[in-house]
C-alpha cells in the first residue's frame, strides 16, 4: 500500500517550519522539511511559502527510483492533510486570579502554563482598584479566575467577580473556582465574555486542571485565529491550529505513554523570549521518613520562564541570573562588562545570530544560565529536618531525580552538539548540605536537531503511537544511551 502523506506546519515567532511526513502502516517517517522566516504582519504568507517549499521540493521525490517512499509522488498536493500550530506571539496571555498564593493561585498558574499560556499577571485575595488598572494595562487574552474549594470561600470570590465586572477589557474571563457560586459569578459578569470550567482545586490539595486547560485551548482557537491572517490558514488547512506549547505538551504525554523506556523524561525548549521546561515523571515517591508538604504536583508538568531567554529576555536574564553569570565569567578570568554590552546589543537586535567566537561563547553562557535556572525552578526541594522523633525529609514541589532522559529543543539547544549544556539542568543549586534541589541526576541527553518536536506534536492527537515513535527516532543522542 502506498504511504499516506501528511504535512505539518508550525508558525513560530521567528521561523515557520514545515515538514512532510509519510505514514506507512503504523510508522511515520520524515520525507523532508523546510524553514522560512515568519511573516509577522500576515502569518498566512509564511504558511503558504513553507507549504509551497515543502511540496515542491519533497513531494515529487516519489518519482525518483531511489526514494524511500516509492509511489508517494502520485498523490495530489491538495489531497495531503495539513496539521498546524501557532506560537501566537509567544503564547496566550493569561492573568491568573486566585485566593491564597500557595493554593488556588499556584494551581491557576499551573493550569495556565500547561495549556500553553504565559502568565502575565497573578493576583491573590481581594482585587484592588490598582490591580484592575494593571489588568487592563497588560491586555490579557484570558483572565483565569479561581478561588475557593467547592463549597468553600465565596465571599472574596463574589467580591472579585463584582470587581471584574467593572473591568473594561476584551479579555475572556474563565471562571474555574468554587463551584457553589458559579451561577452567581456568571450572573454578576453578565454581558461580559465568560467561560466556565470545573474548579482547579475542588479540595485543598487536590488539583484538577484538565477542564480549565481544555477551555483555554478552545479560547485560544477562537481568539488567536481571528488575528494576523490566521483565518486564511484555517481555510487553507481545513483545520484549526494547536497552540505550539500545547502540541509539545501533548507529544510529551504521548511519548511517555507509548514509547517503552520513556516514562520519565524532560524536555527543555529555549528560545529568545522564554525557556519552557516539560517533565513527565512521578512527582513524589513517598517513603517512611519523607513527608510531602504543599501541593502534589502532576506527573506531566510544564513551566514557562518569561525572564529566561537569549534575545528578547536577555536583559531580564542578566538581572535574575547575575550571580551565576558573574561566577562563570570570574572562573574564566573576565568580568560582567563585555557580556552586559553583548546583552544590550542582542536584546535590541533579536534576530542576531552569533558570528564569532566571543558571541558564540556569550550565547552559550546565557543558554547555560537559562537551562540551569529553568530546571531549578521546575524542580522541588528536599530539606532535612531534625525533629524530636528523629531526622525526616520534607519535600516541596516536584522530584525530577528519576528523569532518565533529557531533550533539548528550540533553536539553540537543538543545534548545540555536546551534552554539557543540557547537563546544566543537573546543577545542585545549593551549597547547604541539608537542602537538595530535586533536579535530574544523570540523564541521557538528546537534541531535537531537526526541530521535529512541534511538527510531530501536531500529529500526536490523530496518530499518537506513530508520532511518539517518530519523535524519539528523530532525536540525536548526545550521550551514551541508557537502557
Amino acid at each position: 500500500m502506498a504511504p499516506k502523506l501528511l504535512l505539518s506546519v508550525d508558525i513560530g515567532s521567528t521561523y515557520t517550519k514545515g515538514g512532510l511526513f509519510a505514514l506507512e502502516g503504523e510508522e511515520l517517517h520524515l520525507v523532508g522539511r523546510e524553514i522560512v522566516p515568519t511573516t509577522v504582519d500576515d502569518l498566512g504568507q509564511g504558511f503558504a511559502r513553507v507549504r509551497e517549499a515543502v511540496l515542491s521540493r519533497h513531494l515529487n521525490r516519489g518519482h525518483n527510483a531511489n526514494s524511500p517512499f516509492p509511489g508517494a509522488g502520485g498523490e495530489a498536493a491538495s489531497d495531503i492533510p495539513i496539521y498546524w500550530s501557532s506560537s501566537a506571539r509567544g503564547g496566550l496571555k493569561i492573568a491568573a486570579v486566585g485566593l491564597t498564593p500557595d493554593l488556588t493561585l499556584s494551581v491557576a498558574r499551573m493550569a495556565a502554563t500547561s495549556a500553553g499560556g504565559k502568565v502575565v499577571r497573578a493576583f491573590s485575595y481581594e482585587l484592588a482598584s490598582e490591580d484592575l488598572a494593571d489588568l487592563k494595562a497588560v491586555e490579557p487574552d484570558i483572565i483565569l479566575f479561581t478561588g475557593g474549594t467547592d463549597g468553600g470561600n465565596s465571599r472574596i470570590v463574589l467580591q472579585n467577580a463584582a470587581r471584574l465586572a467593572e473591568l473594561v477589557s476584551p479579555a475572556i474571563i474563565l471562571y474555574a473556582g468554587n463551584r457553589k457560586v458559579r451561577d452567581q459569578v456568571v450572573d454578576i459578569l453578565r454581558g461580559r465574555e465568560v467561560a466556565t470550567a470545573a474548579n482547579v482545586m475542588p479540595e485543598v490539595g487536590t488539583i484538577d486542571i484538565e477542564p480549565a486547560r481544555d477551555v483555554i485551548r478552545r479560547v485560544f482557537l477562537e481568539r488567536i485565529v481571528d488575528g494576523k491572517g490566521l483565518s486564511s490558514v484555517v481555510a487553507a488547512a481545513g483545520r484549526e491550529p494547536l497552540p505550539t506549547p500545547l502540541a509539545v505538551f501533548e507529544l510529551v504525554r504521548t511519548i511517555a505513554e507509548r514509547v517503552p523506556g520513556w516514562g520519565d523524561f524532560a524536555l527543555i525548549d529555549m528560545g529568545g523570549a522564554t525557556t519552557d521546561f516539560y517533565s513527565h515523571t512521578k512527582s513524589f515517591h513517598g517513603g517512611d521518613s519523607i513527608i510531602l508538604r504543599g501541593l502534589l504536583e502532576p506527573t506531566l508538568k510544564r513551566t514557562v520562564e518569561g525572564d529566561l531567554g537569549l534575545r528578547v529576555s536577555a536583559e531580564a536574564l542578566l538581572r535574575s541570573e547575575a550571580a551565576f553569570l558573574k561566577g562563570r565569567l570570574r572562573a574564566s578570568g573576565t568580568d560582567l562588562a563585555p557580556l552586559r554590552s553583548y546583552v544590550e546589543e542582542v536584546s535590541r537586535r533579536t534576530e542576531f545570530l552569533p558570528d564569532d567566537d566571543e558571541s558564540r561563547r556569550f550565547d552559550r553562557l546565557l543558554a547555560a544560565a537559562c537551562v540551569r535556572a529553568a530546571s531549578l525552578r521546575h524542580a522541588g526541594v528536599i530539606q532535612r529536618v531534625f525533629t524530636p522523633q528523629g531526622g525526616f525529609e520534607v519535600q516541596r514541589g516536584k522530584d525530577l531525580r528519576q528523569v532518565r532522559r533529557l531533550i533539548g529543543s528550540g533553536g539553540f539547544l537543538a543545534g548545540e552538539t555536546g551534552p554539557d549544556l543540557l547537563l546544566e539542568a543537573c546543577a545542585p543549586g545549593s551549597d547547604d548540605p541539608d537542602t537538595r534541589h530535586l533536579v535530574p541526576e544523570a540523564p541521557a541527553c538528546y537534541a531535537d536537531a531537526e526541530y521535529l518536536i512541534p511538527l510531530l506534536g501536531n500529529l500526536a492527537a490523530d496518530f499518537p503511537g506513530a508520532a511518539a515513535r517518530a519523535a524519539v527516532a528523530g532525536l540525536k543522542p548526545l550521550t551514551s544511551q541508557t537502557n
Binding site: L103, V204, I291, T387
Partner: protein
C-alpha cells in the same frame, strides 16, 4: 445542607500520624467535611486551607511537647488573614513535663484558642462541643 467544614492537622515539626488519621475518620463519621492536612503542618498552611475552604474551625494537634511555641500567634495571624470568626481548637500532649492540665488550658486560651483538649478527653464530647460552638458562631 452542606456538611460543616473543618481543617485538621498536626502542627510544627511533629510527625505523629496515627492520631491524625483517627481524628479524620471520627469527625468525618460524625458528619463534618474534614480538610486533613496531615503531619508537619505550618501555621500558614492551616490558614490557607481555612481561607480556601471557608472552614468554621481549625483543629490543631500537637503530640511532641512543643505545642506552645508552634501555636504562638496563630490567632493573630488568623485575624490578619480575615478569619476573625474562626474557631481554634487544640489538643494532644501540648507541653513537656507534668504541668497540670488546667495550667496548660489557661495558657492556650490566653493565646486565643477556643477549646483545649488533653489526651484523655472523649472525642464524642469534642464533637458535641464543636457542633454547639459552630452553631453559636453563626448567630
Amino acid at each position: 445542607m452542606d456538611a460543616p467544614r473543618i481543617v485538621l492537622g498536626v502542627i510544627g515539626a511533629d510527625c505523629h500520624s496515627v492520631g491524625n488519621k483517627i481524628l479524620d475518620a471520627y469527625f468525618t463519621e460524625a458528619g463534618f467535611h474534614v480538610v486533613n492536612l496531615g503531619v508537619m503542618v505550618s501555621q500558614d498552611e492551616f490558614l490557607d486551607a481555612a481561607v480556601e475552604s471557608d472552614a468554621g474551625a481549625i483543629l490543631v494537634s500537637s503530640l511532641y511537647g512543643h505545642g506552645l511555641i508552634d501555636c504562638e500567634g496563630l490567632r493573630q495571624k488568623a485575624v490578619e488573614r480575615g478569619l476573625d470568626k474562626i474557631l481554634l481548637y487544640v489538643g494532644g500532649n501540648l507541653v513537656v513535663g507534668k504541668t497540670p492540665f488546667e495550667e496548660v488550658e489557661r495558657k492556650f486560651k490566653a493565646m486565643g484558642f477556643d477549646r483545649v483538649f488533653s489526651p484523655h478527653d472523649d472525642l464524642a464530647e469534642a464533637v458535641k462541643m464543636l457542633r454547639e460552638d459552630l452553631e453559636a458562631r453563626k448567630s
